[in-house]
Symmetry: C2
Subunit: 301 residues, 2 copies
């Protein structure tokens, strides 16, 4: 069945206490409208922060209650389509992102997004669009988690791999999962070093199912290139190490390889990568290419 | 002029006190033979560590003294060719690499490298060869640095980007630079999570010149895809942040962009990446694609 959810159904923290705004069944498809990460507060480059409410950022549309999904399940989210608006906003400023210690003033820029041409006009430089979803997740197990922070429930993972055609697997902690998404970017690179991608309004179409074979305590993505394990931690050193451990836990049982052998294999073909280094927790991802999954007949679904 | 250097000219620590084994002029080409990272001590999977000398790992062939290069210059090393042997060694064990806390025994595997086919035979799985140089650098400014450790002088950066066709830029600290390389891998992925790539003997042909426009305090690579800034630190968090700062210092002067503008641009197109997370210092790299350099007419050479 097909559903639509308006962008004015949103929340700023993932929580078991959020009231569902839509109830769907397993296998249903939902077109979810989302505000940009500023909840549409920035419409001009001048005086953008006059009256700006800093507690109204990173809205996620939802929550969507998925009938038949319970704690311990894995929610399978197929990203079928991402449509984005024709302008995007970026912000830099003191204490924001990797360069925040050198930036003296708040700056806002609004760039045109040419969806027909597939590029962003960065003052005459054409940057290819790479549409992706920054905030996507479910209600966490215990206390609420602000949408700005990523963790095992998803949240602000800011991964360029959460894109059209990808499938995201999320551990479920609450009845119905209480799924939501927002913070869509027209373009962003690994790291999101300024703390801002090109922030856009969007319509995202997702199919919601229950995973059959994937067992994970952290968000996992599959796409045409392979599989990614994503782990968030305040310390990137730990996030990277854990993303390797969790990937090996995910795939080793399917391979027949010893721990020593799969460690060697991962050293040769498994890549440590970074989603972002600017959120309250940083997110590492570990990538294993598709031909490895095919060789060992590993079906993740 | 063309030179050759035999693999029995090697050292285990980069140091201003190492005696040059070859003197060349700027613009000369050198074919450098190198042992594998075990200095050829492992020839069988059984009893590999009987009598193994752990202080004889990561030999770098050299040093090569480059006439006309002095402290403050940047050495430009063009990797013209990498030829590798037909077998490669891998090791895993307790306290080694990301999985070292779970591994109980030392394990050695020797895999065939099929240079004609372009693949490694991992027990029936064909892994594409990606030849790369693990240890490459010059004598550091002060005390010697063991070849196992990367830093501003290069060393054990373990970057898959130090490959055929790439150009590496290294800060020079000593008269003649005292250049060396070794630790070549037939295959390795970002992270080098087991602490071992597929370790091979090699012949590497490099051209040694002085950089004309590149100004850097850290190793820089250029290749057909773009430019990479590499920073090593015990803490990956700091290494990543500094790789971003240093890249912006390298390219901003060529762009006419303000710090705020280039921070936005880097957030959209500049990728935080990882060389390795298993050496005494971890190495981050920040990547900017070629079309950005072309748009701003940035010539790095």
């Amino acid at each position: 069945m097909f559903h639509e959810l308006d962008k004015d159904n949103y929340f700023y923290a993932m929580s078991k206490d959020n009231e569902p705004k839509l109830k769907v069944n397993l296998g249903d498809t939902v077109k979810i409208e989302s505000h940009d990460c500023f909840t549409g507060q920035i419409t001009s480059e001048e005086n953008a922060f006059n009256g700006f409410a800093w507690d109204q950022i990173n809205p996620a549309s939802g929550p969507v209650y998925v009938n038949g999904v319970k704690p311990g399940d894995i929610l399978k989210v197929t990203i079928e389509k991402i449509d984005i608006g024709s302008t995007g906003v970026m912000v830099t400023g003191p204490e924001m992102g990797v360069m925040g210690n050198k930036l003296k003033d708040m700056n806002v820029r609004i760039f045109d997004v040419d969806n027909d041409k597939g590029s962003v006009d960065f003052d005459g430089l054409d940057i290819p669009i790479n549409k992706m979803i920054g905030v996507i997740g479910v209600a966490p197990p215990n206390a609420e988690i602000n949408n700005g922070t990523p963790d095992t429930h998803g949240g602000n993972m800011d991964s360029i791999k959460v894109a059209e055609g990808a499938t995201l697997y999320l551990p479920v902690y609450q009845e119905g999962a209480l799924f939501g998404l927002g913070d869509v970017h027209a373009a962003m690179a690994d790291g999101e070093i300024s703390v801002s991608g090109l922030e856009v309004e969007a319509e995202v179409t997702v199919k919601l199912e229950k995973a059959e074979t994937v067992k994970t305590y952290h968000p996992v993505i599959t796409d045409k290139d392979g599989v990614y394990m994503m782990v968030s931690d305040k310390d990137l050193n730990l996030a990277v190490d854990q993303s390797v451990h969790k990937m090996i836990e995910l795939i080793q049982p399917h391979t027949g390889l010893s721990l020593s052998e799969i460690t060697m294999l991962m050293s040769l073909v498994g890549h440590t990568q970074i989603n972002q280094v600017v959120d309250p927790k940083k997110t590492a991802r570990f990538f294993v290419p598709q031909y490895i999954l095919e060789h060992y007949d590993i079906e993740l679904n």
